[in-house]
Each structure stands twice: as structure tokens, then as C-alpha cells.
């Protein structure tokens, strides 16, 4: 789907898109009320934007606020549209493009981390190798018997991708990833 290359709404758009698509991480603070996630996701599908990763959980119980972290891809113009469109949703309090913010702070990227559970089954040398590599990746064994391990690994998405690729020939059974949790470095809040 390359709909993100075009501004929304206009079938007349014929100028070539000269901007290059970028991957950005957005933090969206919302009221934790029924349907709020559907509104956010509906916006992305309805306007042809991409979601590469989405994480949501209540972060402030007292005030019923949830924080949604979205990794999305688009040209700078489309990314700005996404931010403004998100801000139009009534239960959305605040939208911060963490990637833009990081660049303003002179950093390359915001702090982005992911957790994955990786189940690997096998015996013999594969099993030993899996355990050895897991140790090298600082993955923890959270469940095991004589035929399998479940590893818990945290870190950048690229590190998890790499870990999964390595585990694949060693008897990978299933994977569950949380999606990206992110915030900007430094003392300031979003």
C-alpha cells in the first residue's frame, strides 16, 4: 500500500512526491475510554496511513490516561498530517512525534524498546546452541522443560529481529512481541 505517498482527499494530486518516506515514532496520550483505540486505528486505515507497530496501555490509572505508541512510515508532509489528524480526535490529549523531538534535542532517535517472548523447541546440540546464543543476547529463560525454552528478550527492535533470525534454524516455535515502547531521552516529559 503506497497510499501514504499521496496527501489524502484529493484525486487531483498529480505532482510527483519528492520527499522520501521516513519512519517515525509517535506518542499519543488519550483518555482511556471505550473505542478510543478503534478511533485511532480507524483514522490510520481510513486515510491510508501505515502502522508498523502499535502499543497501548493505561499509564495513569487515577486520571484514566492511556499512552499509545505508534511507529508509522510516511513522508514528512504525511507524518505532519497524521499528527494533526490524531489531534482532532476528541479523547486525544496530546500527540508528540518522538522522532522529531529527538532530532530537536540533537539525538538521532528517541529511546525505543521492545519485549519479546520466543519459544524454541529442540534437543541435543541445537538446544545447547540456543541457550548459548540467548545468553549472548542477554535473553532470560522464563519457562523450560527438557524439550523447550521460552526466552524473554528486551531491547531495540533490530536486536529482537536478529535474535529471532538466529533462533529460526534452532527450532523456533512461536514469537510474541509487545511492539515498541518509546520516550525521549533527557529530563523533560512529553
Amino acid at each position: 500500500m503506497n497510499a501514504q505517498l499521496q496527501p489524502t482527499g484529493s484525486a487531483y494530486f498529480m505532482a510527483r512526491e519528492t520527499e522520501k518516506p521516513e519512519t517515525h515514532t509517535l506518542s499519543v496520550l488519550v483518555d482511556n475510554e471505550p473505542g478510543v483505540l478503534a478511533r485511532v486505528i480507524g483514522l490510520f486505515s481510513g486515510r491510508g496511513y501505515n502502522i508498523e507497530s502499535l502499543t497501548v496501555s493505561e499509564t495513569e490509572h487515577e486520571t484514566h490516561l492511556s499512552r499509545i505508541t505508534i511507529v508509522t512510515r510516511g513522508t514528512p508532509h504525511v507524518l505532519q498530517q497524521i499528527k494533526h489528524q490524531l489531534e482532532r480526535i476528541v479523547p486525544v490529549h496530546r500527540v508528540v512525534d518522538l522522532t522529531v523531538r529527538a532530532q530537536e534535542l540533537g539525538q538521532e532517535r528517541p529511546l525505543e524498546r521492545e519485549l519479546a517472548l520466543v519459544k524454541v523447541a529442540g534437543t541435543g546440540t541445537d538446544r545447547v546452541e540456543a541457550l548459548r546464543l540467548a545468553d549472548a543476547f542477554r535473553a532470560h529463560v522464563v519457562d523450560a522443560n527438557t524439550e523447550h525454552f521460552i526466552f524473554q528478550i528486551t531491547g531495540k527492535s533490530s536486536k529482537i529481529d536478529q535474535f529471532i533470525a538466529i533462533m529460526r534454524p534452532l527450532g523456533l516455535v512461536e514469537i510474541c512481541r509487545t511492539g515498541v515502547a518509546a520516550m525521549n531521552r533527557g529530563h523533560q516529559g512529553m
Binding site: Y12, M14, A15, G42, H77, Q81
Partner: protein, 593 residues
């Protein structure tokens, strides 16, 4: 509203709905009863403060509420039942979303215990209406109900206005709970920005002061911002001496009789308006959104201009067209600052604009709205011109359906005030005009309310004639009857080798007999020399009228910017030979809408 005993008191959900309507100043609602809203209808029956207008189809209720809202500046309110009641409301909700009309839609829902069980007349109303509302709520606890309705009115009417839905399960309507008044209801995080950034406004004024070829391009946002915005706009035009054009939605904000008026711009706009847009060096866009019907080909849109955009919706700024200065705020508030700053800082030298006005005069001389009259056949443009001449001294409100007649109405009927022109711009909803006229007439019982219609569109919501009769709303339906879906036929001629696939209105009803069947008054006119008398008759009759105005069948709507073309590549009526029309749009343009 300061009634202390209403601040907090016990009542049923249905009572709360009616109380909340009263507390939000609602005098009229448009609706249709059904199983899931019966408790609310029971409450409506037992009071006189809120008048209920019974329509014949929920779509009619929505458009009537839109017409009511657009002509008064207040929120329109509709009340419908669950399931089909709610799904029938979808079209007017999306219509209101695209045209930024404040519309509060209350829907009944099956009891909470049955939600999700595929119960009779159940549908996922909040799910279905989520993308076609500004916001919506499903009320599961009667104690939240009153605050949600107050919030619904607040959200619908502030910021960029729009439609909202409050979905109320039947058991919540019966349940007893605590009512809170609008003043004491808790507010959520929703706070639209009103005040524009002064630095940006200052930069805009500096840019405008240096302009040699400026233009003001205004839209429906000026109407939405209220009458004060139109006053300030007129003041700004007088101060600056700039020429001004408007979108379809913004007609009337600046008077069509004003000397700086260039007429409407866009696909069927005037030559002078579009040429001035194309050649301008500074463009001030006020409450418009660079819609594709306005810009034409984007990479050739006002290529040598610096652009300023005032809008209350941040997502409208830099959406389709990049602007140099974006001012986020309410039109009236921003214009107030802008007028003040201009007065204080700019030494007006209107002489500098003389060459620009001379150029505009040459474009005007092209007379792009000229048409040839015919002694035997009523030309549609002539019909609208006569309608305008004969009604301009009345307190007139115009609604339209969608199609050729809508564009002719925009071109040949002239508006001097805002809120007088109700049309479906963004969604282009055929069937909008008749119910919208009903809504306008309910709000302005003594006014002359005319729905300029086409013979195809009018049949989409014709059932509301019955509602007009019931509620003594003497609306006038002026049908430009060319026996075709005229705009479809025009596009088939332009794009599809004149193969008129299904655009001929076969089995046309006899509109005069149809009017009489409803208990209204029917008029038919086929001759140009009988038109004036027939229009006078229509104005005089104090009941609904269907006016069957037989016009030239194959007239096309010009001027026109063909799809995929730029503002300076317009097709003008005197150049539009059959051959020119057939070749106006190239292969690339054919793919566009």
C-alpha cells in the same frame, strides 16, 4: 437555565434527554420514532418546550437539522431509533462532517443486556458512525447521560463544527439517575484553539501590505465563525481594497453586490476569479480547505503566490497545498486581530493595486457567465436569474440539491448575507435540498425558502413534502427539469463519447399532480414569457409549492475547469463547441473525479 432545582436532581434517562435539550437552548428537533426511542418520545409528548418535527425518513431528519443549523448558526438536532434509524442517519452525518455543520444526533439503542446479541433493530451505531462523526458516545450508565449530552453540544458547536452521535440504550432511557446541568457538568480535555498566533498574523499583514496582485479566497469557515466574521471580512476588504472570491460553501460572507467581488471560484467558478487565483502573488485563504474542486491541478495551482491560510483545524493547514503562513484559530478572532494590525501598521496605498484591478477588469469583460436566451425554451441560467430578480427583495433562503442546477444557482443567484445559502458541498448529497428547506423554514417561519432542485435529485427525498404539509412549512421546490441527471449527462458528454448510460430520467412523475397528491400547490412552466408570472404565483401561495420549470434539456454548466487542468485552462461557454467539449479532458484527467 439558572434554575437552581435543575442543578442536580433525580430523573429517568428519557427525562434527562429532554431536560438537556432544553438546557442547551433547543427549540426544535427533527426525528422519527421507533422501538428503541419510545421512552424519549413519551417524554416529548408530555411537554411543549421542545417542538418535534416528524419527518418521513431519517435521512430527511438529518438534512432538515443541517438546514436548520446552517441558517441559524445553532446546532441542529435529530432523534432516531436504533438499527435502520441510525443507518439511515449516516448520509446526513457524513454530509455534516464534510461541510462542518453542527449536528447532534440522538439514537436509540437496544437495551445494554442485548447489545452484541444481534437483537431486533440492533446495529453497532458507534462503530458505524465513528468515521462520519466528529465524536460519538454510547451511554451505558444513566448517571453519565446528561454530562455526555452537554458535551455533545459543546463538541458539535465549537472548534471546527461537526456532527456528533449520542447512542442511548433503551434501559438507560428508563433508568433513574442524577441530572447535572450544563454549567456543572465536568468538561473533558477537548479545548479547540480560538486565538491566532499574533506573530503569524503580523507576518501575514506584512506580506499582504507588500502584495501587488493579492486575492482573498474565503470559504464556509467564515459562515461557521458567525456573523461577526462576515462583518470583519467586509471591513478587511474595504481596508485593503483586495479582490475577493469564495468557495461554494462561503457564498454570502462577502456580498455578491460588493465591488470587490469576483464571483465563485473553482471548477464552475467565474473566469475572473480563477484567473486571479492563478496569477495572484499573495493569497489569503480564510476558512477554506483547498478542496480538489477548488484547486484543479495542484502543481499548477497559483504557481507564483505566497499563501496565508487561516483555519481552526490544524489538519487543514498544509494538507493539500503548502502554505507560507498558517494561522491556527477562529476566523472572527483572527480577522479582528488582522484588521486591527492592518489599521495600526499599514499605510494604505490602494493605487498600487490599480494594474491588478485593470487586469481583473479585462478578465471580467470576458463575461464568463453570459448565456444565450431562447424565446421558445427556458434556459436554466435564465430561470435562476429570474428567480433571483423576483425574490431578492424578499427575506429569501436558498437550498439546493446536487448537480447542474446547484452550480447554476451558485452562479446566477447572488447572496448578500451569510447563512442564506444551504447546499451540500463536500459530500454532494442528492436529496439534501428539500429536507434542508424544511429545516430552514421551521427556523424562519415567515421567510421565503426555496429549494432549487433538479428533476433527478428531488426524487431522492421527495417524501418530505408530506412533512412540509404536516408542519405548515410553505417551502418552494423550484425544479429545473431537463429530464436528465444533467451533471452526469454533461460528464458523459465530456468523458464517455456522449454515451448517455442511464442518465435519462425515464418514467418522470407529473410533478404538478404529485404536488397535489401531497396537498401542496403545483405549477408547471414551459415558456420563457410565462416564467415571471409563474414565479410570482409561487411566491404568493402560502403553502408548499412544487414548481416544474421545464428547461433546455441539453444545456451544459460552464465555465468549467476540466478535470486535471489548471485555473487558467478553463472551458468557457462561447468556446465550448461540441468538439471542444469532447476533447476537453485528456486520458489522465479521465481517471479523476
Amino acid at each position: 437555565m439558572s434554575n437552581g432545582q435543575n442543578e442536580r436532581r433525580e430523573m429517568t434517562g428519557a427525562e434527562m434527554v429532554v431536560q438537556a435539550l432544553k438546557d442547551n437552548g433547543v427549540k426544535h428537533i427533527f426525528g422519527y420514532p421507533g422501538g428503541a426511542v419510545l421512552p424519549i418520545y413519551d417524554e416529548l409528548f408530555q411537554q411543549d418546550d421542545v417542538e418535534h418535527i416528524l419527518v418521513r425518513h431519517e435521512q430527511g431528519a438529518g438534512h432538515a437539522a443541517e438546514g436548520y443549523a446552517r441558517s441559524t448558526g445553532k446546532a441542529g438536532v435529530m432523534l432516531v431509533t436504533s438499527g435502520p434509524g441510525a443507518t439511515n442517519a449516516v448520509t446526513p452525518l457524513q454530509d455534516a462532517l464534510m461541510d462542518s455543520i453542527p449536528l447532534v444526533c440522538i439514537t436509540g439503542q437496544v437495551p445494554t443486556s442485548l447489545i452484541g446479541s444481534d437483537a431486533f433493530q440492533e446495529c453497532d451505531t458507534v462503530g458505524i458512525t465513528r468515521p462520519c462523526t466528529k465524536h460519538n458516545w454510547l451511554v451505558k450508565d444513566v448517571n453519565d447521560l446528561s454530562a455526555i449530552i452537554h458535551e455533545a453540544f459543546h463538541v458539535a458547536t465549537t472548534g471546527r463544527p461537526g456532527p456528533v452521535v449520542v447512542d442511548i440504550p433503551k434501559d438507560v432511557q428508563f433508568a433513574k439517575g442524577t441530572y447535572v446541568s450544563p454549567q456543572t457538568a465536568p468538561r473533558t480535555s477537548y479545548k479547540p484553539r480560538v486565538q491566532g498566533d499574533l506573530g503569524q498574523i503580523k507576518a501575514a499583514v506584512e506580506l499582504m501590505a507588500k502584495a501587488k496582485k493579492p486575492i482573498l479566497y474565503t470559504g464556509g469557515g467564515v459562515v461557521n465563525s458567525g456573523p461577526e466574521a462576515s462583518h470583519l471580512l467586509r471591513e478587511l476588504v474595504d481596508l485593503t481594497g483586495f479582490p475577493i472570491t469564495s468557495t461554494l460553501m462561503g457564498l454570502g460572507c462577502y456580498p455578491a453586490s460588493g465591488k470587490n467581488w469576483l464571483g465563485m471560484l473553482g471548477m464552475h467558478g467565474t473566469y475572473e476569479a480563477n484567473m486571479a487565483m492563478h496569477d495572484c502573488d499573495v493569497m489569503l485563504c480564510i476558512g477554506a480547505r483547498f478542496d480538489d474542486r477548488i484547486t484543479g491541478r495542484l502543481d499548477a495551482f497559483a504557481p507564483n503566490s505566497r499563501k496565508i491560510h487561516i483555519d481552526v483545524d490544524p489538519s487543514s493547514i498544509n494538507k493539500n497545498v503548502h502554505v507560507d503562513i498558517g494561522i491556527l484559530g477562529d476566523v472572527a478572532t483572527v480577522l479582528e486581530d488582522m484588521v486591527r494590525l492592518w489599521r495600526a501598521t499599514v499605510k494604505a496605498d490602494k493605487k498600487a493595486l490599480h494594474p491588478w484591478w485593470e487586469q481583473i477588469a479585462r478578465w471580467r469583460a470576458r463575461d464568463s457567465l453570459a448565456f444565450k436566451t431562447n424565446p421558445d425554451v427556458i434556459m436554466p441560467q435564465y430561470a435562476i436569474s429570474r428567480l433571483y430578480e423576483l425574490t431578492k427583495d424578499h427575506d429569501t433562503y436558498i437550498t439546493t440539491e446536487v448537480g447542474q442546477h446547484q452550480m447554476w444557482a451558485a452562479q446566477y443567484f447572488h447572496f448578500d448575507k451569510p447563512n442564506r445559502w444551504m447546499t451540500s458541498g463536500g459530500l454532494g448529497t442528492m436529496g439534501y435540498g428539500l429536507p434542508a428547506a424544511l429545516g430552514v423554514q421551521i427556523a424562519h417561519p415567515d421567510a421565503l425558502v426555496i429549494d432549487i432542485a433538479g428533476d433527478a435529485s428531488i426524487q431522492m427525498c421527495i417524501q418530505e413534502m408530506s412533512a412540509a404539509i404536516q408542519h405548515d412549512a410553505p417551502i418552494k421546490i423550484f425544479i429545473l427539469n431537463n429530464q436528465y441527471m444533467g451533471m452526469v449527462r454533461q460528464w458523459q458528454q465530456l468523458l464517455h463519447g456522449n454515451r448517455l448510460s442511464h442518465s435519462y430520467t425515464e418514467a418522470m412523475p407529473d410533478f404538478v399532480k404529485l404536488a397535489e397528491a401531497y396537498g401542496a400547490h403545483g405549477i408547471r412552466c414551459e415558456k420563457p414569457d410565462e416564467l415571471d408570472d409563474a414565479i410570482r404565483e409561487m411566491i404568493t401561495v402560502r403553502k408548499p409549492v412544487i414548481f416544474d420549470c421545464r428547461v433546455a434539456n441539453l444545456a451544459n454548466c460552464f465555465p468549467m475547469i476540466p478535470s486535471g487542468k489548471a485555473h487558467n485552462e478553463m472551458l468557457l461557454p462561447d468556446e465550448a463547441t461540441d468538439e471542444a467539449v469532447a476533447n476537453a479532458i485528456d486520458a489522465k484527467g479521465r481517471e479523476l473525479v
